[in-house]
């Protein structure tokens, strides 16, 4: 429970359905002095969650995950930028914090299921395995970050709000009399405390801002960058390069600390390689298959042919070039709204 409307309604729905519900809140890491702005575990959100739990007459506990969160989520965020990729800490958080650390705590408390306020649907197939599907509200769908779930975890997962569109969830909150009904949707990374990630990197990974050359594809020097971590593939604004045509970030060459830029028609690629794939069914589909592939949480699906290869990898060939394939983000494969799996873009 985060104190927000989704997890509050999730708890209320389960209680209404007759489950014995225990409220758990994760205490996550914040930079010293910024604890009040961490979006998911401020003292305010905690007292909100506590109020909701009390109204629902369920026990409520806060689980301290600060140390583990730092050593996994934050550290891999910093490492990712140091390596020159654009990491997605929410994926690490879902895999290691929510669906491992918290999951184990829930089971230790005697729980049969771990329920969250994620917008996603789980469904049993005819063969008795579990499927993860997109939520009915496509605009709120969070199945992208849940592609990390295994059969074991999915069997014990519940997503009570996944069957409802967001406006309906707010209505439910009101009808349950929950004080969180009107709370704003959370945005951005919790530990950035509403700040630009570049500021966070400047403070927490000072070595990262090593400037270097900006080149185009033909090797022509166009200026200097402030540190590769501060740029994202496809980025146009803030390059500080004078040019008659708009320039975009094409590539980050970490070895040579060089930022490669180019024009819009140079942008985009039809292929990617995904690593460390989790196939939700446990096994990849046999052979090459057609799928809708999502390369960022906010990206549109793109049709592609996916070829699973050994060592939990897959190569993806898009029907059309994709503009912002970004190493460090996940490529998630969908077929008829079912999440087949996903992995990190190399």
């Amino acid at each position: 429970m985060s104190g927000g409307v989704d997890s509050s309604v999730a708890a209320a729905l389960l209680k209404q359905q007759g489950y014995e519900v225990i409220g758990l809140m994760l205490r996550l890491w914040s930079e010293t002095g910024r604890e009040d702005s961490n979006r998911c575990c401020t003292p305010d959100s905690q007292s909100q969650a506590r109020r909701v739990a009390a109204m629902l007459d369920i026990p409520f506990y806060v689980v301290d995950a600060r140390g583990f969160f730092y050593s996994t989520v934050v550290q891999s965020f910093l490492d990712g930028y140091t390596r020159g990729v654009t990491p997605n800490p929410c994926l690490v958080c879902n895999r290691l914090i929510k669906w491992d650390f918290l999951y184990k705590h829930a089971l230790a408390l005697g729980a049969d299921y771990l329920a969250t306020g994620h917008y996603a649907i789980k469904q049993k197939t005819e063969t008795g395995t579990w499927q993860l599907r997109r939520s009915v509200d496509r605009s709120k769908d969070q199945s992208y970050v849940l592609h990390v779930l295994t059969q074991e975890k999915l069997a014990r997962a519940l997503f009570p709000v996944g069957e409802h569109p967001k406006p309906e969830v707010r209505d439910l909150a009101r009808s349950f009399g929950l004080s969180t009904a009107a709370r704003a949707d959370s945005q951005d990374l919790c530990f950035l405390a509403g700040e630009d990630y570049r500021e966070f990197l400047r403070r927490n990974a000072p070595g990262i801002g090593r400037s270097g050359p900006i080149l185009n594809r033909s090797g022509q020097a166009l200026g200097d960058h402030q540190g590769l971590a501060y740029y994202t593939i496809g980025q146009r604004k803030g390059l500080g390069v004078a040019s008659t045509v708009p320039l975009y970030v094409l590539e980050k060459d970490v070895v040579r600390n060089t930022l490669i830029v180019g024009t819009e028609d140079e942008l985009g690629s039809t292929t990617l390689l995904a690593n460390g794939i989790n196939w939700i069914a446990g096994e990849p589909p046999t052979g090459r298959f057609h799928a809708e592939v999502k390369t960022r949480y906010t990206a549109k699906d793109a049709p592609a042919k996916v070829t699973p290869i050994a060592d939990r990898k897959a190569s993806v060939l898009f029907d059309l070039p994709q503009r912002d394939i970004t190493p460090g983000q996940a490529a998630v494969f969908y077929m008829d709204n079912v999440v087949l799996g996903g992995g990190i873009i190399e």
């Binding site: 014995e20 225990i22 809140m25 994760l26 205490r27 575990c41 003292p43 905690q46 506590r50 026990p59 506990y61 806060v62 689980v63 301290d64 600060r66 184990k104 705590h105 230790a108 408390l109 005697g110």
Partner: protein
């Protein structure tokens, strides 16, 4: 869901139905303001003065040496602030001596007196049981000492301090001595003259009285300024209309506690010893915190190595047992408490504290169940670390 087994009587106790019975007439029927001239006022005044006499009889002191407050913490605040300022006004002394294992009501007040009022606070070290050695008071006390404050028994680890010895040292130096007896009053003798203390704090809800009422014994002649000023109630020591029903409840709870102290002790003491024995025998890397013998008869407290004490409390609650810990913190921000640090526990032990405190409602069957459950939960908490 069945109510969890309550093993947190040091945090608070349920109100004794006999106490509640005594309080009820003073909400609607005898509701007057004790300061009013009329009949209603006189009735209310009669109620609180009778309560004061009852308390005085229990403490073996004069009624005009009792000041009613809103809680134990307020009593501690009045004691420290009032005596420090009173002594400064009368004698000009500026040193406050207190221990490293006090309740925050004392330590935070002392810190404020130092930071904003120019007093000098000297902190008495405690031994590994959390006990203050009288010799250390003797060593620290000086011509400039305004007040010594040492708790009677420790809320976290149950250790009982040698109050009489410390009070004779203070008396010999002519320095007022305060003791926080909020925890102790539930089981120990709180006769003020026999303890030799000058100021003593009490709170009703630790001995089956209601929350929201406390008292302070102030030996006649002790220099004191009020901490809360206003209408001059409570002999000018504590302004504000008295909380008549709660004061009546306080007196009745204290009276019953004195009368039933022996039988309550006989009930909890063997159960507590069973808890201590079994835990130390059956759980690896566990130690008793606080003194093995000189401790509250209802109080068992432990430290478990490499256990998140908060998580252990969560697991216990989910398993149906309500306990507490030295670093109890609902917000998931555990730090070893000052007491754990003061008795010399390292962080890997200090974070894993557990306090189990018993009361009149505790049954042997509950303790059996608790002792069957705890070892597995400690193991579980360790495995999640």
């Amino acid at each position: 869901m069945v109510d969890p087994v309550y093993l947190d009587y040091a945090a608070t106790t349920p109100v004794d139905p006999r106490v509640l019975e005594r309080m009820l007439p003073y909400f609607i029927k005898t509701f007057g303001n004790p300061s009013s001239i009329h009949h209603y006022g006189q009735q209310a005044e009669h109620a609180i003065e009778t309560a004061r006499e009852t308390v005085a009889a229990t403490l073996n002191c004069r009624p005009d040496e009792i000041v009613f407050t809103s809680c134990g913490s307020e009593s501690d605040n009045l004691a420290l602030r009032g005596a420090a300022l009173g002594m400064r006004e009368k004698i000009g002394t500026n040193q406050i001596i207190t221990s490293r294992a006090e309740h925050h009501a004392i330590s935070k007040t002392a810190e404020q007196l130092a930071r904003h009022y120019g007093f000098r606070v000297s902190w008495l070290e405690v031994d590994k049981y959390g006990m203050v050695q009288p010799e250390s008071v003797e060593k620290m006390i000086s011509k400039d000492t305004a007040l010594v404050s040492v708790m009677y028994s420790n809320n976290e680890i149950g250790t009982v301090n040698p109050i009489s010895e410390i009070s004779s040292i203070c008396r010999a130096h002519g320095v007022p001595f305060h003791t926080d007896a909020v925890q102790a009053a539930a089981y120990l003798a709180v006769g003020a003259p026999s303890l030799g203390v000058d100021i003593l704090s009490l709170g009703a809800h630790k001995f089956y009285g209601p929350k929201g009422v406390g008292a302070l014994y102030i030996r006649k002649g002790t220099p004191m300024l009020p901490a809360q000023t206003g209408g001059g109630q409570e002999a000018g020591m504590r302004a504000g209309t008295q909380n008549v029903p709660y004061i009546v409840g306080f007196a009745e709870a204290l009276r019953l506690t004195r009368g039933e102290c022996e039988q309550r002790t006989a009930h909890v003491h063997p159960l507590r010893d069973r808890i201590i024995g079994t835990v130390l025998e059956e759980i690896p890397d566990a130690c008793l915190t606080g003194h093995p013998a000189r401790r509250m008869p209802n109080h068992a407290s432990f430290a478990f190595k490499d256990v998140d004490g908060n998580l252990l409390l969560t697991l216990l609650d989910a398993a149906g047992f309500a306990c507490s810990s030295g670093s109890a913190c609902k917000t998931g921000n555990p730090e070893p408490s000052e007491v754990m640090t003061a008795i010399g526990l390292s962080r890997d032990w200090g974070l894993g504290s557990l306090r189990v405190t018993l009361g009149v409602g505790t049954t042997p069957a509950e303790i059996d169940l608790f002792l069957q459950t705890l070892p597995g939960l400690v193991e579980k908490a360790r495995s999640l670390k």
